[in-house]
């Protein structure tokens, strides 16, 4: 019964391997990939329902029937299963956008295989209950991302992906270092067992040190403040689908791991560890939005917005109350959807006008109204305007921070939101309003609407998440309660 938990990463793995055989038949590849994407999405909806309905609101699988601390366990609790659901949704949408925009030469060189291997790594990282297994799934994700980010081999891509790869290899080496230290102290690698044993230790100093190494590792993968420098340029190289997929999934894996480890294992001394997280969150917001304001390139602006939003997502963990973490989870869910929509629209605009510089564009709204208003809704949702989903995440984060007396971060978050609004409106005003420039449009209105068909579901989800905030918040609050009570997790895994 709980064998169901292997499907979210086993299915893409098998399909990715099968697709290697059909590399030169792009039509067959697309059919298999599309059907798999749909199957994965439908299955993860079912799995989410099963987890929500199960008595502990958590299902777990002991792989190979070895009981918990000795074998590998897979754990689907409410947070991880929500992440799996969103990852398969984003994967599905990206797949269909990819059918329309990816060049056939890229498809012939195993694009879909690596796409599914990336999903394997991401879903596996969400579902695992073992620290070393998390490392392995991180590497599965990363090595597919190395290939996808340098796929195509343009000069710019090669240069920037070298830096990306080296940066991530260093962070991975430090992941091993952190695992080694933690193993030396506790003698276990299972996360539930770790949570149990770390709580019993009385050596707070060394645990703090290890917590900071983990913060460094996951911060580097999730693009936190001093460690985000690799992101803007390396994400700029590949086509819009890949950037959207990376922006939605890769940083989120880092953030998910931060939330998991810092609620389950390193929850002993929040005055030290979580204050550092809070400071980093504030700095990440500020520096991300400053980067976005300094650019005139539409893709660069949205890439810097990834960094800025990471700050909001990690802010809830820094505040460390159930409400704040619920806000963070809601924000991560919302951001996955909106970020993909924005990258898709930016991709369409670049394809349409042949330039990425917003100063050279103008008056697109008159000719392409649907494109313009989709962008407007996505941008307003990103900034957090009330009926849309971005508002409720920020609202919950800010209210809970005020409740905990963290006024500085509230001030930073509000100012950064204002600057976010400014940077998104600057795109809207430059690109969609104003006089038409002498750009010749490469696509007809019909073609643009065809590409927009993959953006519409994303826009619908952000509106639905906003209008249906009540049930959505019930879910994320339950997930946050689970995270704030790690004893429940430990009791389920280690009976």
């Amino acid at each position: 019964m709980s064998n169901l938990l292997v499907v979210p990463f086993l299915l893409p793995m098998v399909v990715g391997a099968v697709l290697i055989f059909f590399a030169k038949h792009h039509r067959l590849q697309r059919i298999i990939a599309g059907l798999t994407g749909i199957a994965l999405f439908v299955f993860s909806i079912y799995l989410t329902y099963r987890v929500y309905q199960s008595p502990e609101q958590m299902i777990h699988l002991e792989v190979g029937d070895w009981s918990a601390p000795f074998g590998i366990v897979l754990v689907g609790d409410m947070l991880s299963i929500l992440m799996v659901l969103m990852a398969s949704f984003v994967g599905l949408v990206c797949l269909f956008y990819g059918f329309k925009t990816i060049h056939i030469e890229r498809e012939r060189y195993y694009f879909y295989s690596f796409f599914f291997f990336l999903l394997t790594g991401v879903n596996g990282a969400f579902l695992t209950g073992d620290l070393f297994n998390l490392f392995v799934f991180f590497e599965v994700t990363l090595i597919s991302s190395y290939v996808l980010i340098s796929h195509g081999g343009k000069k710019f891509q090669l240069r920037e992906s070298f830096k990306y790869v080296v940066m991530n290899m260093v962070a991975s080496a430090f992941f091993l270092v952190a695992v080694a230290y933690l193993y030396a102290i506790t003698g276990t690698l299972n996360m539930a067992d770790l949570g149990d044993r770390v709580a019993m230790l009385d050596q707070q100093g060394i645990i703090n040190v290890i917590a900071i190494i983990f913060l460094f590792v996951f911060g580097a993968k999730g693009a936190l403040f001093p460690l985000y420098y690799w992101l803007p340029k390396s994400y700029y190289g590949p086509p819009a689908v890949i950037t959207a997929l990376f922006g939605a999934l890769l940083t989120k894996v880092g953030l998910y791991s931060l939330i998991r480890t810092f609620t389950l294992i390193f929850n002993q001394n929040p005055a030290f560890t979580h204050t550092i997280i809070l400071v980093l969150a504030g700095a990440t917001m500020i520096f991300g939005v400053l980067g976005a304001l300094s650019k005139f390139d539409i893709k660069s602006i949205i890439i810097y917005q990834i960094i800025s939003q990471v700050g909001f997502m990690i802010m809830g963990l820094g505040v460390f109350s159930a409400d704040a973490i619920a806000g963070s989870i809601y924000y991560i869910t919302h951001d996955m959807v909106v970020k993909v929509a924005l990258f898709f629209i930016a991709g369409i605009i670049i394809q349409l006008t042949g330039t990425a510089d917003i100063r050279k564009m103008g008056g697109l709204l008159k000719k392409y109204p649907l494109l313009g208003w989709s962008f407007f809704i996505a941008a307003m949702s990103l900034v957090g305007i009330p009926p849309l989903s971005g508002f409720f995440g920020k609202f919950s984060l800010i209210v809970s921070s005020v409740g905990e007396g963290q006024y500085v971060i509230v001030g930073v978050a509000l100012v950064v939101s204002l600057l976010n609004l400014f940077s998104m409106l600057r795109i809207f005003m430059n690109v969609f309003w104003g006089e038409e420039t002498d750009i010749t449009f490469a696509l007809s209105n019909k073609q643009v609407n065809g590409l927009l068909r993959t953006v519409i579901p994303l826009i619908a989800v952000t509106i639905a998440l906003g209008l249906g905030a009540e049930p959505a918040f019930q879910y994320v609050s339950a997930a946050a309660d689970q995270l704030m009570n790690p004893t429940h997790y430990i009791d389920v895994i280690l009976p």
Binding site: I143, Y146, L158, F162, Y181, L189
Partner: protein, 112 residues
């Protein structure tokens, strides 16, 4: 014994850091290799360097060395092997495309 190995790991890490901060692409690759050597040795050391037979049940010894870190290292070695192979090819392609291995010239300007 652990202290000696810890010192060795420290030397490996510092050399790796030094190499990672140099300008040449190939030295950086060597830096990542040394870094992963250090990390693997660290896992072995942190598992404890106690005396004991190799973890083979056929040896019928009184005590065995800890098998878990060895399995972890084996996994990590294979992963870093794959990564290094990819990175070397990437370095070669970058060198071919840009005709330089100097990171100063690979910095990238704003106006491309």
């Amino acid at each position: 014994m652990e202290i000696l190995i810890a010192l060795l790991i420290g030397v490996l890490f510092s050399v790796a850091t030094y190499l990672l901060l140099t300008k040449s692409l190939l030295r950086i690759v060597l830096g990542t290799v040394l870094l992963s050597h250090g990390a693997h040795l660290l896992i072995l050391t942190m598992g404890g360097l106690s005396q004991g037979a190799a973890p083979l049940l056929g040896q019928e010894a009184g005590s065995y060395t800890d098998p878990l870190p060895q399995a972890l290292i084996l996994t990590a070695i294979v992963i870093s092997f794959g990564m290094t192979a990819l990175l070397l090819v990437l370095t070669y392609r970058t060198y071919k495309a840009h005709q330089t291995d100097d990171l100063d010239q690979l910095r990238g300007r704003l106006d491309e």
